[in-house]
Symmetry: C2
Subunit: 327 residues, 2 copies
């Protein structure tokens, strides 16, 4: 019997999740849930869209819900609410609020006898696993997380909020000199500005004050003020032609020292180059759904993260087969 | 109270393990065990060397034994024998024999009420974790494991066995064209020859037939016959000067496809650049010793591998602290 998956929210992430479920032979998509039922056409034959408010009627018919809403707007309420009724996976990525989110989801999942896997993306998620493992094997050292080159949707949205802006795309780009130093195991102290620069492509409305827009972007607190930022104004056509995709990437690198006088330099790196950031995150949600399902079957209750899950739980094969084929 | 570590075998790996234990504040080295007690001088103040045959007297005084002998000669017998008496970690790396080794160690550890962590190196070990996780998140795709540039001690030893050879060093070097194709997500079918080439630096004895040595190396089954191999004869001085270290490295790369028509290319890579291969493996053994100790405390009995261990077990901090700091 296949793992019956539900998808909650059908933006880029939810759509990516639908395609990801198709790639996993031990899963099937049971239903899609959204607030805007009539706008949505899933591509999986026979799969219907239901209003998110009626999800509780599907208790017992869905094994794991993939929560594909936004970390800012949807997940803080949605994950605890759904974790009472279903096993769930989310990709909650507001790092500072993870402890609070974990506590709420944990209580809800335990109350419902469910398993909830939160923050299951690439960061938090895959990168977090690397940070833990690499720090454990190289305790004397330093880890860096670099992001890009890729589109930051949060930063793009922040630009779009400004008066006079029609559309925008922001690329995060690792600072090359810092990348080189980190990869050489030099373990420099790096500020936010030294880690990443921010390249903005902006479509201004007719008659807008471009000098004013550029000044406002570069001085925006939290988003741009602490970074070297470039602003390039382009036409709407150029944005559509050259900046339509959502590529991303990045890497975790740790340089450590071992041996006599700690004189050996040991460098480990985990990196991603993604054509589609939401599709990749959706693929992670799907792998984590399998782990969530199995953990719940075994009696696990409450909230887990990538730190709590043995790697074998992400694949369907037996432990023997995994050892034979992949160890 | 600190985790009391014993080291069994004091070659490059055992010595590296001693330095690694020093870097972990929650551990202390209790004793070193060897067959050649009088040759060995541990650098940790107060730590003594005992004959390996008397190890059973230390039951109750050592929490985890790091087994640092060779996979070919020592571990097949040693790991099961020690797993009856102690929690143990080894870096058994003969891939084809892992299932058999696992079964023997599992039975022994269960009989003794111990936890045994086998194949805890970088491959098998860290690379294996990546292969499982990356296959789970990108089920449509292909994984490659590349080794080098670095010294293969097994291949170096094989050359040293030949008549007329005084010493030798063999470097495994990834084939650049294949690396590029794999990193681009082209997912080519690659033979052994297309993955790695083998560069040999050989010191011949006076009067030896170098043409014959080169021919014998290049035709050696399993080791060289299936690879593009170069043989360069050098002096003993040059070997000592330029080839004294044991650097290594390598990477796992997986290219996958996601989304509509599986048209998005997603590439993930985990790589290492190591000044010292044995010191890095020793550092992994040490991190795995912490996990082994904790698993045993919690009641786990028998054999485990990296596939069975949640990442949080590798670090000493609480789950809350890890989520706050590294998720």
């Amino acid at each position: 019997m296949k793992i019956r998956i539900g998808i909650v929210g059908y933006g880029n992430l939810g759509r990516g999740a639908e395609y990801a479920v198709m790639q996993n032979k031990d899963m099937e998509l049971a239903a899609v849930f959204s607030r805007r039922v009539t706008d949505i056409n899933p591509v999986t034959p026979g799969v219907k869209v239901f209003n998110i408010n009626g999800a509780e009627k599907f208790i017992g018919d869905i094994d794991v819900m993939l929560l594909c809403g936004s970390s800012a707007a949807a997940l803080p309420e949605q994950t605890p609410a759904f974790a009472k009724m279903f096993n769930v996976v989310d990709s909650f990525d507001t790092h500072a609020k993870i402890p609070e989110h974990f506590a709420k989801v944990d209580a809800a999942a335990k109350a419902g006898g469910r398993t909830a896997f939160i923050s299951a993306g690439w960061d938090p998620g895959l990168f977090s696993v690397q940070r833990v493992i690499l720090e454990s094997v190289l305790p004397v050292g330093r880890s860096y997380s670099f992001y890009g080159k890729g589109v930051s949707q949060g930063h793009s949205d922040a630009i779009r909020q400004l008066d006079g802006v029609l559309d925008a795309r922001q690329y995060s780009v690792p600072v090359e000199a810092s990348v080189t130093a980190a990869r050489n195991g030099e373990n420099p102290e790096l500020t936010a500005r030294q880690l990443i620069r921010r390249d903005c492509f902006v479509v201004a409305k007719d008659g807008a004050d471009k000098t004013d827009i550029e000044r406002k972007i570069k001085s925006m607190l939290h988003y741009f003020a602490d970074y070297d930022t470039t602003v390039t104004f382009i036409s709407e056509e150029e944005l559509k032609k050259n900046h339509a995709g959502l590529p991303h990437g990045g890497f975790v690198v740790r340089g450590g020292r071992t041996g006599e006088n700690e004189s050996s330099v040991q460098v480990c790196e985990f990196g991603l180059r993604l054509d589609s950031n939401p599709e990749f995150t959706a693929s992670i949600l799907t792998a984590c759904a399998r782990a969530t399902y199995r953990l719940n079957k075994e009696g696990a209750r409450g909230c887990v993260t990538v730190f709590d899950v043995p790697p074998a739980y992400y694949l369907a094969e037996s432990a023997e087969e995994l050892r034979r084929r992949l160890l």
